[in-house]
């Protein structure tokens, strides 16, 4: 079985090639990933979609807002309804939040600085399309690189009740401390999903954490996201 994944390119995307490399060369496993320019994306040809990191449209007005109005998101909205897996990484998360696929918004980091470093995130929900290969409570080593990653929502209680908080920033031991929260996110939230759990957005970069050579701890926790997606797609079509 060939699994067709689209990696959407917006003007200003810059993690598109890394994501494509990981899908085609690291995970492989039947995946045929393709770069698709945002105006040319047709959802029917694909089993899943990745909105990669970067600075789509120069982050003008607000990170992700211009891309949120791209025709690619209209196509992705059809996939969302069909239950196909959609992941937004970093700027992709900002786009999904602005397009209202996901609840909440990403605000400027508390420190006002662009933060680029390895952090730890704790798995809170392993029922989503991208986390089935993880266990609740697992701590993943993964890098962040963003200036606007402070998660905010006015519906915190709702998210907690619906199990939509997928990752929280934590210490290596899984403790939620202020120090382990790099950007001031509400309740240390690093990633959230939609109600149906087929759409995930997160600020950290799994595609930069999928090969031991790239990790200070020789980890490859990022692979779990994409392997879970493959499993999800196989289960969906069978």
């Amino acid at each position: 079985m060939t699994i067709k994944i689209a990696v959407i390119q917006f003007p200003g995307s810059n993690c598109d090639l890394d994501t494509l490399h990981v899908l085609n060369n690291v995970i492989s496993n039947g995946i045929e990933a393709e770069l698709i320019w945002h105006n040319h994306f047709k959802e029917a040809q694909f089993d899943g979609v990745v909105l990669p990191g970067g600075f789509s449209f120069g982050d003008y007005l607000r990170s992700g807002i211009i891309a949120a109005h791209s025709p690619a998101l209209d196509e992705a909205r059809i996939m969302l309804k069909d239950g196909k897996p959609i992941i937004g990484i970093c700027n992709g998360f900002q786009i999904l939040a602005e397009a209202q696929f996901l609840p909440g918004a990403l605000l400027r980091n508390d420190s006002l600085k662009f933060i680029c470093k390895w952090v730890n995130i704790k798995v809170e929900n392993n029922k989503t399309a991208f986390t089935s290969k993880m266990n609740i409570g697992d701590v993943l080593a993964i890098p962040i690189a963003h200036g606007e990653g402070r998660y905010y929502t006015d519906k915190l209680k709702e998210l907690e009740e619906n199990n939509q908080i997928v990752f929280r920033y934590s210490t290596e031991n899984g403790e939620l401390t202020e120090q382990a929260n790099p950007n001031g996110s509400l309740e240390s939230i690093a990633g959230v999903c939609n109600l149906e759990q087929n759409c995930l957005g997160l600020m950290p970069h799994p595609e930069r954490a999928s090969e031991p050579i790239l990790s200070p701890k020789q980890t490859m926790h990022g692979r779990l996201f994409f392997e879970s997606m493959v499993e999800f797609i196989k289960r969906r079509v069978s």
Partner: protein
């Protein structure tokens, strides 16, 4: 109906419950440290000035308000939008 050119000025700012580290930094790390202790709070925002053709001031304001909501020029989760002023362009 004759249309005129109007200038609509508006500001987008974080809602009071969403922290504004830019405003806080200006107040705490600059003003308070330089002796301006009479300043108790600063909030930052984004300013937009929009030139628009409309029949009258009210219509200009209405269109701007409508498009800002429809296209999420401001993010209603975190921001408030305030129209500061509508003036007719000479």
């Amino acid at each position: 109906m004759d249309h005129q050119e109007y200038i609509v000025e508006l500001v987008l700012e974080n809602k009071p419950q969403a922290r504004d580290p830019v405003g806080t930094t200006i107040q705490k790390d600059l003003l308070a440290k330089k002796g301006y202790n009479m300043v108790s709070n600063v909030r930052s925002g984004q300013y937009l000035r929009i030139n628009i053709s409309a029949a009258n001031e009210d219509e200009a304001k209405e269109i701007v308000d409508k498009m800002c909501n429809a296209l999420r020029i401001f993010n209603p989760v975190t921001q408030n939008l305030t129209i500061l002023k509508v003036t007719q362009k000479n």
